[in-house]
Symmetry: C2
Subunit: 390 residues, 2 copies
């Protein structure tokens, strides 16, 4: 989710990795989406690291956050300056040890990182879908990932792991395919968006749609809504940090000057940081994908969809073992939301460990180096792997 | 600041009020601004309520928040549907009792509510200033208000009162004119913007400047940057509420439908609320004024300007008695910022009462009916008035 985490190439031990694609189709070459429409074919981008053991018992599925991709660790080529987004956690000897586990990271439908999304060409028209692309849900994303697992011949997943929007996919996996998911680690996430989280997403969407270059989502042959998307990204970045982390990171420090400019240039470092994040983001992300994925996040609501309004009921069929982690300074998905989740799990007798990690860096904490988090994940995975092999 | 507070005309007791204007000029018909430039003439809009007593000892100066105006209470005409923005607090028998006090509310330079601002005509060109308008500071705003006080023949102010940006003006008044301000009530405010507050303002400014209708601030003869300003306002509204207040006010309730729309219309009530606030705001506010006032708020930093980096030193000449009020759920200017202020005041031996009011409605709490706040203000004013007359 956050690109400002700078990785050193030498820090990666996952080595070279290959981006793969799987285009799946059911009987009719289409999937029936949760909104009721038929849609397809769907391509998913994914990557793997480590070796699948003969009894296929060492599969870990990693799911990424809003603007992430399938490139979780390692490098595509030796020339890459940056490894995958979770290289600090995934690799030989790391928290998710690829010497023990076969780790898959799947992209999402609706995205723009190699999977079918609004920027993909609609085979019926020969042009990009734009907003003719159907509004997809977390359930649609996960069902597409399930088709990928079927294709790979995987019947049981030792652990499904992800943070933020990735954590929502984790929860959707557990509820939808309870017999397939042995354990799960939802990090810095929620079972439903609060009004505050919806509000931030809505303002970000409005910023995109207010950009005249958005032109109703049909901009692929012309100028892109870069200014609107940059504002949307800046809003996102505010939610990923925290009051405390921004104070420590930027405070009121000025940008390369000793006095105020008395104009509308970036005086403060925090302004310059946000502008830079916005500008950099538009180079790699599609504005329409931002609309679709944030909408899926806003719609996500386990108790509404699976529990007739009861979260306890929504978890009633779940059979996975859980490690739930929240971070003290995360104000996008605050700890109380994880606690609500854990409580509903416990009422169903689910085996759940919960940990709130003291962190000042806000929601983004799950992406940053944290020995406590690494230790928790490593220990949890060893435990469930031992149980499976026992 | 917030317009969603609906007033009932029958609730107002302040009666009819008249908007007044004062255009001031020093010797050279200009004022030297803090950025070093000469600027003028400057007109300030202001309103008064109550009667100035013969010894001029009952003056209260109210200063408003970012998007407020001088219309603090009562109605302009009998046909008005809404009274002034602080009608719940200002009027006969209210917290700020206009039967005892002569209450002045002054607008700010840089605004768009009758005072000189970027939308005013530049006498040198015959056209609106646009961004040729100088970047003004909290100090400039307060110095203009001081000229208004001089014009009205007021040498002592019993109490200067304001919330949010109004609270910053209150603090600036106390530091800049220590012998003139007998007491002060800064509400829900800060002595300097945090990185988080700057971040929100910067993203809002970027949203405005990203609107192609902004055209470098020179839009007064054509289409206005309404879409950008609406997004800026939506961002503001998120900061004025709180996670808890949004949960109570909106939760995940849907807007006039029982299921998701599966498109990008407003599904949730919170989305609809924000869109409405954005749309309504552009009818009454100038985008350039939004830029200038938020910049002044970001620049505001008492310890930098008056204390060589020390807030204690910044307050060293202050002679006012204080009532400082914060609200538990205000995450724009959280209580710890008020506590820092109070601590620095106490180190100077300043007589300060501090109260953190339990409130779930976020930063906007100071604008909402609250018996505790009303009682605190009434009691404090009675006390200082008695001392003055003793």
């Amino acid at each position: 989710m956050s690109e400002y985490i700078e990785h050193d190439k030498t820090g990666s031990s996952a080595g070279l990795i290959e981006k793969k694609f799987y285009t799946f189709a059911d009987q009719s070459d289409e999937m029936i989406l949760e909104n009721g429409t038929r849609f397809g074919p769907i391509t998913l981008a994914y990557e793997t690291c480590g070796t699948l053991n003969p009894d296929r018992s060492n599969v870990i599925l990693i799911l990424h956050a809003l603007t992430g991709d399938s490139h979780m660790a390692g490098f595509y080529t030796k020339e890459d300056s940056k490894p995958g987004w979770w290289d600090i956690m995934v690799g030989p000897g790391k928290g998710i040890d690829t010497e023990n586990f076969f780790v898959i990271c799947s992209n999402i439908v609706g995205g723009c990182m190699g999977s079918t999304g609004p920027g993909s060409v609609n085979p019926k028209t020969g042009k990009p879908y734009g907003i003719d692309f159907p509004v997809i849900t977390m359930g649609d994303m996960v069902r597409a990932q399930k088709a990928l697992m079927d294709h790979l011949g995987i019947e049981k997943i030792l652990s499904v792991i992800g943070g933020s929007l990735g954590g929502m996919q984790v929860l959707e996996w557990c509820v939808r395919y309870p017999r397939m998911v042995i354990s799960a680690i939802p990090l810095a996430t929620t079972t439903k968006h609060s009004a505050l989280a919806i509000a931030f997403n809505e303002v970000a969407r409005q910023a995109i749609m207010a950009d005249p270059n958005w032109t109703g989502g049909n901009y692929y042959s012309g100028e892109k809504p870069d200014l609107g998307l940059a504002v949307a990204r800046m809003i996102g970045h505010i939610t990923y940090l925290s009051d405390e982390s921004m104070r420590q990171k930027f405070g009121r420090r000025l940008q390369e000057k000793s006095d105020f400019s008395y104009d509308f240039s970036a005086d403060f470092q925090v302004e310059s940081y946000l502008r830079y994040q916005g500008t950099k983001f538009v180079e790699r992300f599609d504005a329409n994908s931002f609309l679709y994925i944030t909408k899926a996040a806003d719609y996500f609501d386990l108790e509404r969809q699976y529990g007739d309004g009861s979260l306890v009921k929504a978890f009633s069929e779940v059979a996975s073992k859980f490690l739930v982690v929240s971070f003290t300074s995360d104000w996008l998905y605050p700890t109380y939301q994880s606690k609500t989740m854990v409580k509903a799990m416990k009422k169903n007798g689910i085996d759940v460990s919960f940990c709130e990690i003291e962190a000042e860096c806000g929601h983004d904490a799950f992406l940053l180096p944290n020995d406590r988090l690494t230790g928790l994940i490593r220990g949890f995975l060893e435990g469930v792997f031992n149980e499976v092999r026992a």
